[in-house]
Amino acid sequence: MENRNKVELHKISKVFLNGDSCEAAIEEVSLSVKENEFLVLLGPGECGKSVLLNIVAGLMEATSGEVYINGELCGGIHPEVGMVFQELGVLPWLTVRDNVALPEKFRGMSKKDRYAHGQEFIDLVGLHGFEKYYPHQLSGGMKQRVGIARAYASDSDILLMDEPFGKLDAQTRYSMQDEILKIWNQNKKTVIFVTNNIEEAVYLGDRIILFTAAPMSVRRIYDLKDLPRPRNYTDEKFLQIRGEINRHMDLVIQ
């Protein structure tokens, strides 16, 4: 079976107009993502990672460059691409199961089927019993799990995650990292995960792409396939890689 590139970015650039002046956010970024790999995009805060992700999702247009999904040129919202946002990604006026059923709505299924389909993923993320709850009744971590469940339920092959654990406290964050790996193992998808936390990146990623600060470009690519899972924060190899990335990242934050 050919290990084709699920997603390919070819010389993506993004320039923002700020009044009279132009701001270059992304400068000729090219990268590729293999099928079912867990790719982490790492960089200092505000460097443009979210912008890049939005471009892949089709929410923003690149100033130049192309996005290929499954080998085809893509110019906007793609049904194969689903996104997990930070906390606000859950609609507060819908219950958990309505939220999870949302993407399916577009596909024209009956309500009963949608709920049944979504139930699988609600259970998958460990929220069994909370189907009829409203978001305001849930904790931050639980809301994120709803977002993940919904992204999985949408059957998109490619999941984009924009710092999904950014707003959570450290404790919840660690447990969510384990959760996401568990889910990914049970239900393999191509994941592009954005973070500014080195530890998180090393813990989660098959590969890590390290970006510079704005204007953003690729600094280095780290291949972590040899680091065995489940990973250990205090493992020697883990710390070694972490230190190396840290040094390179330091150079970036001038």
């Binding site: 999702a57 990604g89 577009f106």
Partner: protein, 277 residues
């Protein structure tokens, strides 16, 4: 589930504290009304204020009691007057809701529509309802249509403004998410924009209803033969201060009831909101 137990314990404590707070507030409210009524009664009993200027609360209650069945001096019982005014406000408010709510939402969502309607709206907005009376008489006559229009006008403006602002404040993240689900702009308007706008839209409705109910006196000034405003005018013509005050009291109480009813509905429709009291 440990998490669930913790949640319920915390909720229980909150509920208890809230009940205490509400009882305190209620008590304070009752005391203040009591003091107000006592001072009022004293002013009258001790003749500090003349009978042709102010009438005691007891006489006002009497007037209400009697008016419930008596058609004098204005020719309608209290209930007939209440229903007449109610009808006017219902029509005016209802129309404002049916026209204003969609208009505000659409204006807030679709820029071209906003730019098109804005100028007219901004000119009309500051006009006081009484200023409309002369024009309304000529165009709409002096019947229910004319009077309801006055009320429509005061209720229309807050509904439009609030639903407009509400939908403009829709969080971009929600919109982005809906986009990634593949929803069209129209679909996003319906599934994200409208629910998002509801809290503010409801606030607008509460204001509108208050405005509308308070404007019924001005509207009935146009031409009437029934209604609470009419009852007050007749009270004035015939020197019945007790009826004037009774009318004001009834208007106030019903206004209160209407607001409370609307807020009850709001509480149900918007049960997904985080209650911060």
């Amino acid at each position: 589930m440990e998490e669930r137990n913790k949640l319920e314990a915390a909720a229980g404590k909150l509920r208890f504290e809230r009940r205490r707070e509400r009882q305190k507030a209620l008590l304070l409210g009752i005391i203040s009304i009591f003091i107000f009524l006592t001072v009022w009664q004293m002013l009258c009993t001790l003749h500090i204020v003349g009978e042709n200027v102010l009438v005691s609360p007891i006489k006002v209650i009497q007037a209400i009691w009697i008016k419930a069945g008596d058609t004098r001096p204005d020719g309608n019982t209290l209930l007939q007057n209440i229903l007449s005014s109610f009808r006017l406000v219902l029509i005016g408010f209802g129309l404002a809701l049916v026209i204003g709510l969609p208009l505000g939402l659409l204006m807030g969502w679709y820029r071209p529509l906003d730019k098109f309607i804005r100028p007219i709206f901004e000119i009309i907005r500051p006009l006081p309802p009484i200023a409309w009376i002369p024009i309304v008489i000529v165009i709409l006559g002096i019947g229910t249509a004319a009077k309801s229009f006055i009320i429509f006008f005061t209720t229309f403006v807050p509904i439009v403004i609030n639903s407009y602002t509400g939908i403009r404040e829709t969080n971009q993240v929600y919109i982005n998410f809906a986009k990634t689900c593949g929803y069209s702009n129209w679909r996003i308007f319906r599934t994200v924009g409208i629910p998002s706008a509801m809290p503010l839209a409801f606030a607008g409705m509460v204001i509108a209803l208050g405005n509308g109910w308070g404007t019924l006196v001005a509207a009935e000034m146009l031409a009437s033969n029934s209604g609470l405003g009419y009852m007050i005018f007749m009270g004035r013509s015939y020197g019945r201060i007790d009826i004037i005050i009774a009318g004001m009291l009834v208007i106030g109480l019903i206004g209160l009831a209407l607001t409370a009813a609307l807020e009850l509905i709001e509480g149900y429709v918007l049960k997904w909101r985080i209650k911060e009291k």
